[in-house]
């Protein structure tokens, strides 16, 4: 089973986590037009390669954190805090 390293609890099985999808998405201003909202809500890069995503240790400490993970190999390249800037390998 895939393991992820929670910054607070250490390596745990994938079954303890839920993936929250792409991270670093910035919510548009409330006055934004439909196209901007559509892009924000639905359109994604969906890369075959490194993906920056958020995970939550749902059945553990309950905390959110960011992960850089390769979507073809599932290799985790880095784990970083929710407010950290995107890492270099993206």
């Amino acid at each position: 089973m895939m393991q992820l390293k929670c910054p607070w609890c250490g390596s745990r099985d994938e079954s303890e986590f839920v993936c929250g999808g792409t991270t670093h998405l910035i919510r548009p201003d409330l006055t934004a037009n439909d196209a901007t909202w559509g892009e924000y809500l639905f359109f994604r890069d969906n890369p075959k390669g490194v993906h920056l995503e958020r995970w939550r240790h749902a059945y553990g400490c309950g905390q959110w954190f960011n992960v850089a993970r390769h979507t073809l190999t599932h290799e985790v390249l880095s784990v970083y805090a929710m407010t950290d800037p995107p890492p270099a390998h993206s």
């Binding site: 079954s15 839920v18 993936c19 999808g21 559509g38 892009e39 809500l41 639905f42 969906n46």
Partner: protein, 416 residues
Amino acid sequence: MKYSALALLRGALSAHRNWVPAWRSPEPKPAYDVVIVGGGGHGLAAAYYLAKNHGVHNVALLERGWIGGGNTGRNTTIVRSNYLFPESARLYDFALKCYEGLSRELNFNIMLSQRGIVLLAHSRHDLDSMARWANAMRMNGIDAQILTREEVAARAPLLDMSPDARFPVLGGFTQRRAGTARHDAVAWGYARAADALGVDIIQNCEVTGFLTGAGGRVVGVETSRGRIRAERIGIAAAGHSSVLAKLAGFRLPVVSYALQAMVTEPLKPALDTVVTSPGTGAYVSQSDKGEIVIGASLDLFPSYAQRGSFAVLQGVIAATLALFPSFSRLRLLRQWAGIVDVVHDSSPIIGPTPIPGLYINCGWGTGGFKAIPAGGWTLAHVLATGRNHELAEPFQLERFITGRLIDEAAAAGIAH
């Protein structure tokens, strides 16, 4: 060559040396009227209907691996049209009706078996929502029948119906015209029929880029086997749709996930319908070879790796054994995954892209095998005429901007 009992007999008398390959393996020509990217069911069906319905024969279908090697050859083969909204009901029932005549039309046995599907209600809430679902289907003119607890037990006697079952069965509903079809045969049947109408099916040919001309219009593709020009291009690449969109310079509202399935060793006939338990995420049928076919729900993190996660495997097996305790003695033979193209409302996208001349068929997610004839038919229509087919009109990319989603998550939330 027409397949028939007579041809089989002739083969038997000539040590079966009379058979010819079902399709040619031509070298790509420098230019075609239409190029289709992706040799799954949707791409193959589109190629066939381009030639058959629209008289467009100068068509190439480009497949990176082998035809049917994507999700079309990896699915659990369930066909049904039990959707909630009228737009979806029309589209999927059109496909089911095509399937009903397809073996004859293609002269290729797709082994359609309309053994029905039974959806299990495990709670009062399930009973209410299934009654709504079945009624919506009947309003759309599609067969549906609510089942009592006893009727479910009679349909699938191996289900655990005891009062202390982990997932008690309170009732359910059925679509009798649903069932299974042989997935490989659908791909091969369309390929053979398209080839016979002049379509070039080119395998081991990966599209690596798009050529554009005046006004940003696509005029061809770069491939691992050279440059091929085309008037119009259609993409039907399922889990790789976003990769191709990126090559062409736009984004899609798609996320790629692994969806897995597995089969047990074969056994004698034990289950003559498809049983789906939306509450637990498991669905089960028995193949004509005798294997119990078990499908899971999505591995819920983005993935292009064609293997499933053990966490999900464990969950679906636990659920299946709770429903069918006697299956605990069976051994699993194989487990695999396909990469599916999931969109927010679990409905497809069939139509133009932001790039002139480039069209797409994607977003089928966990349930596009059943829709192959309709997806192919409507993609061929827009490629040939430049106008959307009326069945495909509601399923346009722009709905993710206007907000007019067709949210079938209720019906397609489980993988089948």
